[in-house]
């Protein structure tokens, strides 16, 4: 089938304003949107810039907005969008555009770093592994699926209005260490996100949960953090 794409273009070196450029691509229904973007770039217009790497939803590079919804271009198939043409592809909203579909993710990674994404354990470690109850470990099953693609933050209505809001993915990473029974800084981690711009910034819009390409129950996880704050700190 032949698809029509409208792709957001902006080169701050040369353009005063962003624009949308139309391309037509033939593709099979089961091909990825990423395949279409590549075909455009390889066969029609090499000036189109976007990030990509693994091509199957593991690295998180090719997060973009497709027909208004944030997603990984390698996880959406042609048949998913064929009904809604032209297919509009835009950069993730809420982030500064560096060129075309490439956005500045520095502020995003800074927030992830802010939650201290590493185990703060006791310096004394056993000779072998630390034992961990499989049921306790299971609590992390969902959150360790996060690939830091930033779809959630880009879709969050709170983050769109308040740039100080920590945002869904960083809170998911906070969860990952708060509920790791091996971590020794649980209380301090909870205190750190017990703020209006931390866990309490979330207003349960559920947009993050809807768009998460790894199907992490993001909003629910944030609410679990809130409950834990009430339980432990109050």
């Amino acid at each position: 089938m032949v698809l029509t794409f409208e792709i957001f273009r902006f080169d701050p070196e040369h353009d005063a304003e962003p624009r949308y450029q139309t391309y037509r691509v033939s593709a099979d229904p089961t091909e990825r949107i990423l395949d279409c973007l590549n075909r455009i770039k390889w066969e029609q217009d090499g000036s189109l810039s976007f990030r990509m790497s693994c091509g199957h939803g593991v690295c998180g590079s090719d997060a973009v907005r497709i027909n208004g919804r944030c997603a990984l271009a390698c996880q959406k198939l042609v048949k998913d969008v064929a009904e809604n043409q032209p297919v509009r592809v835009e950069p993730l909203p809420s982030f500064r555009v560096l060129k075309d579909l490439v956005v500045d993710l520095e502020p995003f990674f800074e927030k992830v770093h802010w939650v201290k994404p590493y185990l703060l354990g006791s310096p004394e470690v056993p000779e072998k592994e630390r034992l961990q109850d499989p049921e306790e470990r299971k609590k992390l099953d969902h959150v360790i699926r996060c690939i830091l693609c930033a779809c959630c933050v880009a879709s969050c209505p709170v983050a769109a209005e308040n740039e100080r809001f920590l945002g869904p993915a960083p809170l998911v990473w906070a969860f990952r260490y708060i509920f790791d029974t091996r971590d020794k800084e649980r209380k301090n981690r909870l205190r750190a996100v017990d703020t209006p711009d931390g866990a309490w910034g979330c207003r349960n819009h559920f947009e993050c949960t809807r768009v998460c390409p790894k199907e992490i129950p993001v909003t629910k996880s944030i609410n679990i953090i809130k409950r834990e704050i009430e339980k432990v700190l109050r």
């Binding site: 217009d45 693994c54 998180g60 592994e129």
Partner: protein, 576 residues
């Protein structure tokens, strides 16, 4: 104009090998970590099944069994002194990862859970053993995230989205790299006492691959261009179970958990090829078995794929231990693996060959002497612990064991080393290369040449090879190189995120490596491990029980032999 940076050490690549080395040197050396992608996007994160270590949490196990399996898996081309280092250190390495915070799956008693994997056996080949430590089917990803966190905690200086485009060598001493910053288009010159390459594999040489787009082997190609050798490049692993058509990996863990390969007739055909461990034979054996079934007309509907059957594992087990691959199958094929079998075919997965190193990560020249200032670890390196065929779960292990050892060696040696002055006009050759490409307004797009190379390599240098096919492919690849030099042009000449230029430069790396693979493959007139010559179907220990070195010698390409270290296990016929 270029920016200049000086560090004690520059590590190129932010997968597990690069990150592990950085962690080891943190606080002792001033380290810069350069990466083509954000560190968490590195391809180590795509590793699914596990990391091998004889913890013995599930059943008795020993590092000697693990060493034997590694040597036999490599069809006796594995350097046994290196395999001993790898497997002896494995247990410590996994405990260390646990201490750093890797969320391994657990047993009811709280210990790290382990499962069976291809080629890993108890008591020197008797039966499969549970040796793979895992976190669902995201083991690489969680180790990557954990090591990234360790680097954040230690304040490692990361330069993301910079591609290394040249190695700086003065009088045989490596003293830095030139890198291109994708955000700005600027060249950066990094001056360092030591450079460590951890640039990963180059599966993108082939059409069907589980590898990411970034896996173009830039580090290995640069080493070769500067006249240093590459080792065992003919050994390319085709993983038996790539999703049909796409090449996306279905982890061997699927068979470790009990999955079965079936042909058109519904037969469990691996019983015929590997009577003892069946579907859990080494990857080269299983890939050849699949190709043989397809050639005999027993592919599904007579086509070029077979089925991987997981339907008997049950929804719960798939959700708990194989959730990512279940979701890949659902997304890309519209199949629920609990209900229907998965169409699979071999996919290019891993390069056993690469930059020759010793067990401390020091890169070696043709004579086997360390190259001053150059280290390498991970898939771009060849220690060689994988020999002619790598076992599943040994790659993550290789990355953390030899990444750490390289880091440790640098931390010990670099403080007493001097900065070698940079060559004059360090970035001039790269700038000239780039300008030549940017100058042209007509010609051929990089993607066209890349596709032709990938097609040719897949067809003539895949699971099975012949002299005739390799010669033909070599002619094609050399033609493409020439066309690349003379004719490649870009649509975009701007500076920011010029991925058009990136792909043109990567194509140069890929074509360089394709040629090396072909030369190496043509020179090995035997079948061993992943290198299967139809015109020489048997292993020939008399003439070929040695590593191959391929290097540039003026305008020619030289091939040399290098002895294999054999300490504990004398070569025997390889039967599973």
């Amino acid at each position: 104009m270029s920016e200049k940076h000086t560090h004690d050490v520059v590590i190129v690549g932010s997968g597990l090998a690069g990150l592990r080395a950085a962690v080891e040197t943190a606080g002792r050396l001033d380290v810069a970590l350069i990466s083509k992608v954000f560190p968490t996007r590195s391809h180590s994160g795509a590793a699914q099944g596990g990391i091998a270590a004889a913890l013995g949490n599930e059943e008795p196990d020993s590092w000697e069994w693990h060493m034997f399996d590694t040597v036999k898996g490599g069809d006796y081309l594995t350097d046994q002194d290196a395999a001993e280092v790898l497997t002896r250190d494995a247990v410590r390495a996994v405990y260390e990862l646990e201490h750093m915070g890797v969320p391994f799956n657990r047993n009811p008693n709280g210990t790290i859970a382990q499962r069976a994997f291809g080629g890993h056996t108890r008591n020197f080949g008797e039966a499969p053993v549970k040796r793979a430590c895992y976190a669902a089917d995201r083991t690489g990803r969680v180790i990557l995230d954990t090591l990234y966190g360790q680097c954040v905690q230690r304040g490692i200086h990361v330069y993301p989205e910079l591609s290394v485009v040249d190695l700086l060598v003065r009088d045989g001493v490596v003293c830095g790299v030139v890198a291109l910053d994708w955000a700005t288009g600027a060249l950066h010159v990094f001056h360092a006492k030591a450079v460590m390459l951890a640039t990963g594999g180059f599966g993108k040489v082939f059409k069907t691959t589980s590898n990411c787009f970034a896996n173009t082997g830039d580090g290995a190609a640069l080493v070769f261009r500067h006249g240093f050798p590459l080792q065992d490049m003919e050994f390319v692993q085709f993983h038996p179970t790539g999703i049909y058509g796409l090449g996306v990996l279905i982890s061997e863990a699927a068979r470790g958990e009990g999955g079965i390969l079936r042909n058109r007739l519904g037969e469990r055909f691996m019983e015929r090829y590997a009577p003892t461990i069946k579907d859990l034979a080494a990857r080269d054996v299983v890939s050849r078995a699949i190709m043989s079934e397809i050639r005999a007309g027993r592919g599904i509907d007579g086509r070029d794929f077979v089925y991987l059957d997981l339907t008997h594992l049950g929804k719960e087990r798939l959700a708990e231990r194989l959730s990512d691959i279940s979701s890949f199958v659902r997304i890309y094929l519209g199949i629920d693996p609990a209900e229907a079998p998965i169409p699979v075919q071999p996919t290019c997965h891993y390069m056993m060959g690469g930059i020759p190193t010793d067990v401390d990560g020091r890169a070696l020249d043709v004579q086997g002497r360390p190259i001053a200032g150059l280290y390498a670890a991970g898939e771009c390196a060849c220690v060689s612990v994988h020999g002619a065929n790598r076992l599943g779960c040994n790659s993550l292990l290789d990355l953390v064991v030899f990444g750490r050892r390289a880091g440790r060696h640098m931390a010990a040696q670099v403080p007493s080393m001097d900065l070698t002055p940079l060559p004059s006009q360090a970035e001039a050759p790269v700038r000239e290369r780039m300008e030549k490409i940017k100058e042209r307004t007509t010609g051929v797009r990089p993607a066209v040449l890349r596709e032709r190379m990938q097609q040719e390599m897949m067809e003539r240098c895949g699971v099975y090879r012949t002299r005739e096919g390799l010669d033909k492919a070599l002619e094609t690849v050399r033609g493409l190189q020439e066309e690349c030099r003379r004719n490649v042009f870009l649509d975009y000449r701007g500076e920011r995120y010029n991925t058009d230029l990136m792909e043109a430069l990567e194509l140069e790396s890929l074509l360089t490596l394709a040629e090396v693979i072909l030369v190496s493959a043509a020179s090995r007139r035997e079948s061993r491990g992943a290198h299967s010559r139809e015109d020489y179907p048997d292993r020939d220990d008399q003439n070929f029980l040695h590593h191959s070195l391929v290097y540039r010698d003026g305008d020619k390409i030289g091939v040399a032999a290098k002895p294999v270290s054999i300490t504990r296990f004398e070569p025997k016929p390889r039967v599973y």
